[in-house]
Amino acid sequence: MSKVTSMRDAVAAIIHDGDVVAIEGFTHLICFAAGHEIIRQHRRDLTLARLTPDLIYDQMVAAGTARKLVFSWLGNPGVGGLHAIRRRVEDEDPAPLELEEYSHFGMVGRYTAGASNLPFFPLRSYFETDLPKANPLIRPIRSPYGDETVYAVPPLKPDVTVVHAQRADADGNTQMWGLLGCQKEAAFAADRVIVVVEELVSEDVIRADPNRTVIPGLIVDALVVEPWGAHPSYVQGAYDRDNRFYRDWDAISREAATTQAWLDEWVYAVSGRAEYVEKLGAERVASLRPAGAAPSGSVDYGIYR
């Protein structure tokens, strides 16, 4: 059964006010197209979970969609801070923002526990740090098999996880390559899953390389085909990270007024990703193409009957 739908319809049907939403992807495959559609549809009171809130949550927080962040690293990598989020945290401007903070491994463990239907995930981290004081949900736990103490983090089960990927078939069987982050764990942990892909392929393409399938259509509720849906993040083999935009955002986001003006121009005044890409312009788009191809060798699965 085809799950192919538009971004507008997917967000309207699947993401509701007050939801816990995870738009995952570690630097790679961050679905800005979904974030912008959530802004356009004026979702409110979301709890936004991500290891690295990145520019996408800075924009969504600036647009007033969120009341809380669950995260492990709050910055613009190699550039600096996330200013819209910092205004909410440091100055409560225009309103406070609730934070629930872990380490990367803690967040990965939370999704893993959520996906595996376990009551917690144990890890050897947090010893002698102030993180368990800052977040009392990080708790020491005694091993049932000896004297050792480790720390536990609770499961994270988002209402909705959004995953971007290179390709999927119409049923939502999804393949990706490059940095996998914790997209698989976040998807299996979620109640509802939206997959957004660069390319819709036939079932045969998926079945020809089953090791590359990260998310089965079984857990996918909607499939959106949205080329360039991850820009200014990137898609391995398709387009590069737009580091220029990541640097530009530092200046754009320093003042609330310039941040809102950017949202007006690039989110509210744009109907969807196709128009956004057109506005980006052919030159910028061409500059982000890989310098050349680096195909993997293919493997032989063999035929057995």
Partner: protein, 274 residues
Amino acid sequence: MSEPLSPASAAAGAVGSAPAFTKSEMMIVAAARELAGQRVCFVGVGLPNIAVNLARLTVAPTLELVYESGAFGAKPARLPLSIGDPTIVTGATAAVSMFELFSFYLQGGLVDVGFLGAAQIDRFGNINSTVIGDYEHPRTRLPGSGGACEIAINARQVFVIMRQSKRSFVDRIDFRTSPGNLGGAANAARIRREEGWLGSGPSVVVTDMGIYHFDETGEMRLDSIHPGATLDQVRDTIGWKPKVAEPLAATPEPTAEELRLIRQELDPEGAYTK
């Protein structure tokens, strides 16, 4: 920060034909040299990124670069701005999920050196990268742990690279994000053993002024001072009275080849060296 140190102003080892270099370049070169002989290095965002890549091209050609984003054995063809850049995947030994990276590679004990930056550090190498001020009402909200907390606990040893200032080298850090030698070496060793940490804690801090190692009490000690820096400058940029090795070594200046690699291959836009 960006003014070049002319060879004439260098404190030691000045040679007439030596190239001029910046404090940042000296810091990156000194940090890279410390990686000689190491095998597996977990690379943090920012300055560690360029130092580790310089080491791979100079003193540590067999160094395996591990990025928390999931690349093992990365061979970046350009210096990545972020630690999740596509260039760390193309040509890498393995691209793995973050679960595998943190569980099997780091917590499994395969990482020799974790290379971290910091906003604040104390004399025992405890690190703050979370907040300046009170946690609930911070004056400055910093990025937070990322993977630093578990790297500090599970990497076999920790290297730190950061610029010196009274704001960053402090008597008391505002928040302990990543544990170092806690309140001193003896206690820290006992706690590490009892709690089953794999790491032995911080071993090197490289700044724009010099190179510090940790003495038997677990406290930072200036072992080498960079050309152009003076002991007065070192003391003026540290929030405690620093221990100084006797005799104090002089860090050799960057070589022409090290500078060429930084300026032409690793960071032609000067993103890290400004």
